[in-house]
Symmetry: C2
Subunit: 456 residues, 2 copies
């Protein structure tokens, strides 16, 4: 296909799409995306990373317009977008577009929820904009993946900023030209290095993508002009940041093929390539029960990306442990845990976990699918047990059910805001399409007691 008009065609679609033509199953997946995002934002709200970010930005925050979900603090909408993007990603427990490893909701929903607190936005319109934003970032991701990612870009940040700009731009009613500018302003802020994995800065990426994408839309709204062909230009996003440019992925079948319908939700709070291992180790634990204490060693045969991304053999912190398939296997076998509680500094350094972790070996096998793993456990008596996971829980073939999403939501949210407020928030989030003011979700994420405590 020719490389002309890519940005223009995409912008036309973003601003012109009739919400009514979005298929019901796409909207349903949009609701699941939203529910999962709310749970993750609340679940991550008390993380040390968030405390540090808040301390840094508080002195510069504008009017207290928008809520940091799950906390009492309010910030101006741009900073709230940043913080909610951080909270919803910091536990590595969010959603995943498996074709690109983009975590779609963080950049987009964080920007939209902050917007909803400063301008009238119904739940129905928020959901439409969320679906559009997710579609845009995943399509742009498809156009450059895997080269772009292999080069070292954290694609949730680099593609996410387009999703946030598209979503906010649509929600505030940009015309097609201003939408092209917004995409240009998004592209010129596209950033985020994979080098940051294992540090607080990883979750800064979806946060900044949300904030920068919203900023792009607001600048365009104010008449701040930009390139109108940033995706396909000779010095545009795709050429500068990737050796692969498949523009058909961006504009072919818009409104027919829906990337937003392919979103998936993490069952475990860590890098997605570890998930087959945790799934398999949990299954083994369920089968052998008390014999976990007799395990001599563990051998994993996994996709090469598992070792490339999560090969940390001796993690010292919870954040580092999210990039250690060795820790994850040990923790799943000994405690059955793959939730955020499996990735605390304390658990990572517990002698029992460390002892087993050091006896886990992993081998890369290019023939192994990314969603698969083969596990061999050897016991002290020399006997062995093998487990093959063909497709992990959370994959497209074994998606989390609505019930499992609810359990995941509750398990993380209740630790932050308590059981009853979490249940009320969950119920409200499921009804997003029927809410007159989407901002009600942000308000419901903060129990009254927390609001009082945080009052300045």
């Amino acid at each position: 296909m020719t490389a002309t008009k890519v940005t223009a065609e995409l912008a036309d679609w973003i601003v012109g799409l009739e919400a009514s033509v979005i298929p019901a199953e796409v909207r349903k997946e949009g609701v699941r995306t939203f529910v999962n995002w709310v749970g993750c934002a609340v679940g991550g709200a008390r993380h040390e990373t968030v405390d540090c970010a808040l301390a840094a930005v508080e002195p510069f925050s504008g009017p207290r317009q928008a809520t940091v979900l799950g906390r009492g603090e309010k910030l101006d909408a741009l900073h709230a977008a940043l913080l909610n993007g951080i909270t919803s990603h910091v536990l590595d427990y969010d959603d995943t577009h498996l074709k690109t490893i983009i975590h779609p909701a963080g950049p987009v929903a964080s920007a939209l929820m902050a917007l909803a607190e400063i301008r009238p936005l119904s739940g129905h319109d928020l959901l439409t904009a969320l679906i559009v934003g997710v579609e845009v970032e995943c399509r742009i991701g498809n156009a450059v993946y895997p080269d772009h990612y292999d080069r070292g870009w954290h694609i949730t940040g680099t593609a996410g900023v387009f999703g946030a700009a598209a979503a906010v731009g649509r929600a505030i009613g940009l015309d097609a030209q201003k939408m092209r500018w917004a995409l240009g302003l998004a592209a010129t802020q596209s950033a985020g290095l994979r080098e940051m994995f294992g540090t607080m800065t990883k979750s800064f990426h979806p946060g900044r993508a949300a904030q920068n994408g919203a900023m792009a839309a607001f600048l365009a709204e104010a008449g701040f002009d930009s390139s109108e062909q940033v995706l396909e230009a000779p010095r545009g996003f795709a050429k500068v940041m990737s050796d692969k440019q498949d523009y058909g992925e961006i504009i072919d079948g818009l409104g027919i093929r829906w990337e937003a319908a392919l979103n998936s939700y993490k069952p475990f709070a860590c890098g997605i390539v570890i998930h087959p291992t945790i799934d398999g180790c949990q299954q083994i634990r369920a089968e052998i029960a008390a014999r976990v204490a007799e395990i001599e060693k563990v051998h994993l045969i996994a996709h090469p990306l598992v070792l490339e991304l999560t090969g940390k053999t001796a993690p010292k912190t919870g954040l580092e442990a999210k990039f250690s398939v060795y820790h994850a296997a040990a923790c799943a076998l000994l405690r059955g845990d793959g939730a955020p509680t499996a990735f605390t500094d304390e658990v990572v350094n517990s002698p029992e976990i460390v002892a087993l972790r050091d006896r886990v070996k992993a081998t890369a096998d290019p023939a192994c699918h990314e969603a698969s793993v083969s596990i061999e456990v050897t016991f002290q008596d020399g006997s062995t047990l093998k487990k093959h996971v063909e497709r992990t829980l959370g994959s497209r073939e074994r998606p989390l059910s609505d019930d499992q999403l609810e359990t995941k939501f509750m398990n993380q949210a209740k630790l932050v805001i308590g059981e009853a407020p979490s249940r009320a928030l969950l119920d409200l989030a499921w009804t997003i399409e029927d809410i007159d003011r989407a901002a009600a979700v942000a308000a419901a994420s903060v129990p009254a007691a927390k609001l009082r405590n945080a009052a300045v």
Copy 2:
């Protein structure tokens, strides 16, 4: 050299440098850098680009801590850094590190001046931090230029963010570890595409670099951790954003070889590759006076980059005309003008200018130096006149004198804040090293009358 410890060595130098060892000539060039930056920030303050940016960010601004130089508005320090980075670059009249085409002061001085309004900062310490920040961004630029720039990155944005982080980080007293984090946080925000040239978004880049670099320093101060080897890591800045990585350019001869001493200042308000042409055309005009009306055609022989960067044959706006060597030649011949007044929408569309512009031809010659040009003017009677510029005004061989810097400062600042306040501001800027509170410069950039008008 090995690629280890690049970030660590640079961070050690940034935090450990004794101001007293900076050579006098380096400090002197630092003062000239500062003076030129103040003039450009005030000179650009009323540009439409700035109005649009202000309209977009005003609703989100925090406490009115810091000044948009040359205007009455105050914003929180981060947004003030953004705006001053925009104002100081929007006329394309700022400073240039010729080896990398980085415009060094915009990202660094804009961040520091905003900082000076929220924390105690003497003029002496501001100047030291400015020199350090400029040194850091230019060295990092050297390490990846030209590949990085050729690929399409606007290096003032991508390298500038490091300069701002280093300068602010030093000024607020980060220790070496936090400085490494600040550099990591800067790298992961490094962005800006050359595709934006000719639009408002070009000047957004130094502004955002200033804001993002300051943010990086403040996040690191608050304990927000990051990679500690972002410059040299396999997925770090240099590897991801360039095919060239010359780490020696970053850490060899720190404190001995000073890139900050190589700064130059634009005599004309446009892309630097056009400068030889304007210089030569002004010389021709001075020689032939009224005969400019008899010019039939003009032929330029210039470096290939001139056509690549500034080959717009029919610019419609002032911003576009900064990327048209044809417009620049016509305007210099007919009006003798290369100042911001040569790049207004009105002048660009004046029939007289358009008529001559369309009769300017340019040929690329790889043998021609970037700072040179050969001009042949043919008159209606068939006679010709040739002019060769060996090195343009503003080059390292023909730097602007202090007097010429003063004239440049006054010519742009007086249009915005008037003659007497401009003179007072200029005098104050020259004495930056002796000022107890550097913030006094920001205050002096706004005449009392403007302050009253802008009071909210």
